[in-house]
């Protein structure tokens, strides 16, 4: 049962999450004990180089970021498929190589389409 033994190692990740969060929260607590506490109105305004901020900053945002995020999702899914391919490549041989070249080429066709459409241009 190699798989079952392998799974127990992942407990270390869980314990590291507990330890790490605990340490960070402990340092916050430690700082709380010794630091001064003196808030007033001017101090608790957003910092904009001494200008009074106009309105919220939670506004509609440039959708360039959204398009790049979409492109990223496509390529990230591709990379997820590439990981098992790379690990098993030694045993699979020529068939897997050709298959993956075709797969990458199809995605690159998409990339060049986006390129020609001007999506990759950051205005």
């Amino acid at each position: 049962m190699e798989g079952a033994v392998g799974m127990t190692e992942y407990l270390s990740v869980a314990f590291f999450i507990i330890a790490g969060t605990g340490i960070v929260l402990f340092t916050f607590f430690l700082a709380r004990l010794i630091r001064p506490h003196n808030p007033y109105k001017e101090k608790s305004m957003p910092y904009e180089c001494a200008e009074d901020p106009v309105g919220d900053s939670w506004i509609k945002f440039n959708n360039r970021f959204y398009i790049f995020a979409l492109m990223f999702v496509i390529f990230d899914v591709e990379v997820v498929f590439l990981f098992p391919w790379a690990v098993a490549f030694g045993e699979l041989g020529l068939f897997a190589l050709v298959e993956m070249v075709i797969f990458i080429l199809i995605l690159f066709f998409g990339l060049f389409y986006a390129w020609k459409k001007g999506v990759l241009k950051w205005v």
Partner: protein
């Protein structure tokens, strides 16, 4: 149920701790839990010391490149200056703004630190010196360090500050774009190893210099260079530091943070710097392998600090890229290059043209 600490042989301190806990009459579950938590604390201590050293080192290098001295007051060439800075940050008032998003604002530094810290579960510090040799090691590191982006966007959004929001959004676009060339450069090596475990990767390049993947594999140097470029962008360091460009965004996503919360972002940044260098060492520079007269963890540290030095020299000698240059460099140059490199690597592996 037995929870083994599988590959860890952090002798003799660790076996001593384990023996002590067993002598106290605790059950196996408690012994393992406490040992892992203690191990987490030890790693945190090592990382904090490393970060203090790296901050001091970076300031000295920057100073000497700019013909200054840098910190000189505290000890020999200011060697405990950063310790004093950390103590100062501990005593600073936590200035928070009224209109922030409270939950998001509070958890962003915690998540940022966790994303950097968790990578050290699978980091091979030396021969048999690894917390857990997960069989998906490198994939796990790639996945967990990307959580940094989420924390930066959280910090930018939660601050309710325009500079912070811009910084967070920019870092998301940047890290997301450079994630792909980074992972594909790693895959080029994985094709030759056939395993994702960090220990297997290091063992595949045992021996001296010409067995390391940077020289062993044709196109290894290209993969190394693309990895280093992408890693610089991942760690938000200077040729690619538009998320926190001081001259235009004040400090980017962490404008509104002060005191210990700011310190966590700062610490995470330097841990990330060490992480990407350590991954470069493991993948390309042979990890702990080297001549016998230095212990394995010594080789790991020397090589990793060498890569860190390279990244620091980048930071203080290159000017910052513009946003459009940055994005177009990633999408129009790096991504096609790394994929072509991966395909060539696959062909060479199939033909067996490597030693």
């Amino acid at each position: 149920m037995i929870w083994p600490i599988a590959t860890l042989e952090l002798a003799p301190l660790f076996s001593w701790l384990r023996g002590l806990l067993v002598d106290l009459g605790l059950s196996e579950v408690w012994v393992t839990s406490i040992s892992y938590l203690a191990l987490g604390a030890i790693i945190f201590g090592v990382l904090a010391l490393l970060a203090l050293f790296l901050v001091w080192w970076e300031r000295k290098i920057a100073a000497h490149i700019q013909q200054r001295f840098g910190p000189m007051r505290h000890g020999w060439h200011g060697w405990y200056q950063t310790l004093m800075d950390a103590l100062k940050l501990l005593q600073k008032e936590d200035v928070v703004i009224e209109s922030r998003d409270k939950v998001v604002f509070f958890w962003a530094p915690v998540l940022c630190f966790m994303a950097a810290f968790l990578a050290y579960v699978v980091m091979p510090w030396g021969e048999n010196l690894i917390v857990a040799d997960l069989n998906i090691g490198i994939l796990y590191i790639m996945a967990i360090t990307t959580f940094t982006v989420i924390s930066l966007v959280m910090a930018g959004w939660g601050s309710n500050n325009k500079y912070a929001l811009l910084g967070g959004m920019r870092s998301a676009a940047q890290v997301v774009s450079y994630e792909i060339p980074m992972v594909v450069s790693v895959l080029t090596i994985i094709v030759f190893v056939g395993s994702l475990s960090m220990v297997d990767i290091v063992k595949a390049q045992s021996g001296l210099m010409f067995n390391w993947f940077i020289f062993k594999v044709p196109f290894g140097p290209i993969a190394f260079i693309t990895y280093i470029i992408a890693a610089t962008a991942e760690a938000n360091r200077t040729p690619f530091d538009i998320p926190e460009a001081e001259q235009e965004l004040v400090a980017g996503y962490n404008v509104e943070y002060s005191g210990m919360k700011f310190a966590m972002f700062f610490l995470a940044e330097f841990i990330n710097l060490f992480t990407v260098s350590a991954v470069a060492t493991t993948l390309f520079l042979g990890g702990w392998n080297g001549w016998e007269f230095i212990p394995s963890w010594g080789w790991f540290l020397i090589k990793t600090l060498g890569v860190v030095l390279l990244l620091m020299l980048f930071r203080w000698t290159y000017p910052r890229l513009r946003v459009d240059q940055l994005m177009e460099f990633a999408w129009k140059f790096l991504i096609p290059l790394t994929f072509a490199n991966l395909i060539l690597g696959g062909i060479i592996k199939y033909l067996g043209w490597h030693w």
